[in-house]
């Protein structure tokens, strides 16, 4: 490899052993602290699986039922544990099946290392059986990728892979290893990577920018904080809380930032974005200083950029230089690790209270409660709503559970109403919106923190995209709680058809199987609820279960999620109905 890297000798005396490339892969993973990998075997990765067999007491392999499931499980694991998730697959179709999960991890900045087997190097480029250019295919969706054709490259490349995946703005890395490199023997030794000269993981904080940020924040009359997943990835939850409390600043989260601050914190005003809360969306266009912490102004957050926060001075705390001024022009950019930046900022911040301004958020909340929330979580109509299910989950979980969602209406409703009192608790596919994410991600989440309750909330559509992972749940005994909110529709698409396509429900109605029987077929306890009076007890029973549990809730078929910022509209024009 050409790239200059820095390495750290291991504490222990550096010994070399003559082993195969495949065995070296296992030693590298162990040296990186990996004890769990997700994957699916096949021809080109069999030497590595053979070593996994030998090392099974040290390195546990979870066989998912599809390679996509392996990536989402690795993502769920990574996001709950803060560690790097690892997924493995064979060449060809095994490798291409990883791509959706890799793209998801890239856009949601999830640290993940994928290892794929590849045909022997003498066959590369010959259209050999199960040869596919996975390095080429995965290039646009990986933070870094590399093909190994010689065993001797394995330690350095894997060390680099883990360093890149977890450092800076985290992301997925793919390592493709030819079969001959897995068989080949070489003198193995391992050194962890601690730096790469062409890659600056953590820009140095410029003190003057912190000073300028403090001045803007101190002079603000109507400051507003929007934080993102950067707070969680940068472990800056405590710093966020201190800042908003000291400066008395109302704050809201992006979808991926949820759970970084207690949902019931007085200054937590909810979620921004397309289906976020009324107050934080509308008041984005009334604040005088907008403080963005570890977020990237995604279009689902900003709506129309030409009318987004134009009146405000914008302060952006961000680790990735490419995000500065990408979508929203900032007045002050504080580049660097958000935890360290906030620590530098704190002493410069004056204690303050912005009560009148905070009152504006409360007023908007009252409007939203009256027009939307009340009907969502305490409905008076007959049909069950998704919101009331989440409300029951909150009551049963006491806000302590990890909530994993798929993509669609149920996701938006859950992110709106689920309550969190611990960080790393909201696991969802934000940037890519990958249906099929939740079930495997929930498996990974449970394994990432086995002591925590994990509840997956999934739509009837997305559930069937990775429903085969029930097999993984059964085989591993992962005690995840699965709630399918069944509206017999691809609900979110149907909602758009209703609102923007004159109710032409093209291919969104679903004729569904008996989900309870399917779960039971996998020996998972299962129940179906379709009446309000049965809901609370069913949710309680599910939460009390020591094992995996499946609960199908038949909800109203044609409910819509509001508020909503129609695509291309201003955050100020958010619709309440």
């Amino acid at each position: 490899m050409e790239t200059k890297t820095l390495t750290k000798k291991q504490e222990k005396k550096q010994t070399t052993m003559r082993i195969s490339g495949a065995e070296a892969v296992i030693h590298c993973l162990l040296a990186e602290g990996v004890d769990l990998v997700y994957g699916y075997p096949g021809g080109a990765i069999m030497p590595i699986y053979d070593e996994l067999y030998k090392f099974q007491d040290k390195l546990h392999h979870v066989l998912t039922r599809h390679e996509q499931g392996a990536t989402h499980a690795a993502q769920g694991y990574a996001r709950v544990s803060g560690k790097v998730g690892v997924a493995m697959a064979t060449s060809g179709p095994g490798a291409t099946n990883l791509v959706t999960g890799i793209a998801d991890a890239q856009i949601d900045s999830t640290p993940m290392v994928c290892i794929t087997g590849q045909v022997a190097s003498h066959l590369l480029g010959s259209d050999a059986f199960q040869e596919t250019d996975i390095v080429g295919i995965s290039t646009p969706v990986t933070k870094w990728n590399h093909q190994i054709t010689k065993a001797s490259e394995i330690p350095e490349v894997i060390a680099k892979a883990f360093y890149i995946a977890r450092s800076g703005r985290p992301g997925p890395v793919l390592i493709d290893i030819t079969k001959n490199a897995q068989f080949e023997e070489f003198d193995f030794s391992y050194e962890k990577c601690t730096g790469i000269r062409s890659y600056n993981a953590k820009p140095e904080i410029d003190k003057s920018s912190v000073q300028q940020a403090a001045e803007l924040i101190n002079s603000a009359k109507k400051p507003f904080i929007v934080w993102g997943q950067g707070i969680i990835l940068g472990q800056a939850e405590e710093e966020l809380k201190q800042l908003i409390e000291k400066a008395g600043i109302p704050a809201a989260s992006t979808i991926l930032g949820l759970s970084a601050l207690d949902s019931d914190h007085e200054l937590n005003t909810g979620m921004v974005g397309m289906h976020g809360n009324y107050g934080p969306n509308v008041l984005t266009n009334e604040c005088d200083v907008l403080i963005a912490l570890g977020m990237r102004f995604d279009d689902r957050v900003t709506g129309d950029l030409n009318t987004y926060a134009k009146q405000a001075k914008v302060v952006h705390f961000e680790i990735d230089p490419a995000e500065i001024d990408k979508n929203v022009k900032t007045d002050v950019a504080v580049l660097g690790d958000v935890k360290e930046s906030l620590q530098e900022l704190m002493p410069l911040i004056n204690s303050n209270k912005h009560e009148a301004w905070h009152e504006e958020f409360k007023k908007r909340y009252a409007v939203e409660f009256d027009k939307v929330i009340k009907n969502d979580i305490h409905p008076e109509k007959e049909g069950l709503t998704m919101g009331e299910v989440i409300n029951q989950v909150n009551r049963a979980s006491k806000h302590e559970a990890v909530i994993v969602t798929d993509v669609g209406q149920h996701q938006m409703i859950t992110c709106r109403y689920a309550k969190f009192n611990k960080t790393k608790s909201n696991i969802t596919s934000g940037g890519l919106g990958t249906m099929g994410f939740a079930l495997p991600a929930a498996i990974g989440a449970k394994m990432g923190d086995p002591d925590r309750e994990v509840v997956a909330v999934i739509g009837d559509g997305g559930y069937q995209m990775t429903i085969q992972e029930l097999g993984t749940i059964f085989q591993t005994g992962a005690a995840v709680k699965i709630v399918v909110l069944n509206n017999d529709f691809l609900g979110m698409v149907r909602q758009w058809q209703q609102l923007f396509f004159d109710r032409r429900y093209a291919s969104t109605e679903m004729v569904n199987p008996d989900f309870v029987k399917i779960a039971e077929g996998y020996h998972i306890k299962a129940k179906r609820v379709s009446k309000r009076e049965d809901l609370e007890a069913a949710v309680q029973e599910m939460m009390a279960s020591k094992e995996a549990y499946f609960l199908e809730v038949k909800v109203e078929k044609e409910d819509n999620v509001f508020p909503m910022i129609p695509t291309g509209s201003s955050v100020a024009d958010i619709r309440l109905s």
Binding site: E2, T3, H146, S198
Partner: protein
């Protein structure tokens, strides 16, 4: 609307096989056509230099450079307007040898255009011309009536007027770590 103009993007990178693919993908995603591309060594051992010419707006040039710099193997990337760089292209013209003797005018063209004859064989001769695009195009137009057997023009190569202090950056890396 922001105006488009020609930007020269200079990239210093580690020598890596997959990097060209990564970089071209960044332009592809944004539908920015690469007008010219040149990859070579640089003033630093084992460090490659890309010179890419695109026609785009300043804000896109800045964002694209941000995305390029984000690639692990890229050490540093810059963008410059034409005024901020010294740049050249080189073209080769292959022409039938008899013309050189039968058509006196060709010899004048070669002389006046400050191009040089690289080789002469029994059947053909080759003219090389280094300069800016319009000069090369002017020579092309002059030679065309006589018949050009082959023509090719290189991508732009360019150096910036401003310092691009990669060596110091690389040394600092060694010192800090």
């Amino acid at each position: 609307m922001e105006e488009k103009q020609s930007y020269t993007i200079s990239i210093y990178s580690e020598n890596n096989i997959g990097l060209l693919n990564r970089i071209s993908g960044i332009f592809l995603k944004r539908h920015i056509n690469i007008e010219s591309l040149n990859v070579s060594g640089s003033e630093i051992e084992n460090v490659s230099r890309f010179v890419i010419v695109v026609n785009t707006t300043e804000s896109w040039a800045r964002r694209v450079v941000g995305q390029i710099e984000k690639q692990i193997e890229v050490i540093k990337a810059y963008y410059h307007t034409d005024d901020e760089t010294i740049f050249q292209e080189t073209a080769l013209f292959k022409i039938k040898s008899d013309l050189l003797f039968d058509q006196r005018q060709i010899q004048n063209i070669i002389k006046e255009s400050h191009s040089e004859i690289v080789t002469v064989s029994r059947d053909f001769f080759v003219i090389a011309k280094t300069g800016r695009r319009p000069e090369i195009e002017a020579l092309y137009d002059e030679l065309r009536p006589y018949g050009i057997m082959q023509f090719t023009r290189s991508g732009r190569i360019s150096v910036s007027k401003e310092r691009m202090d990669i060596s110091t950056m690389l040394k600092e890396f060694q010192l800090i770590n």
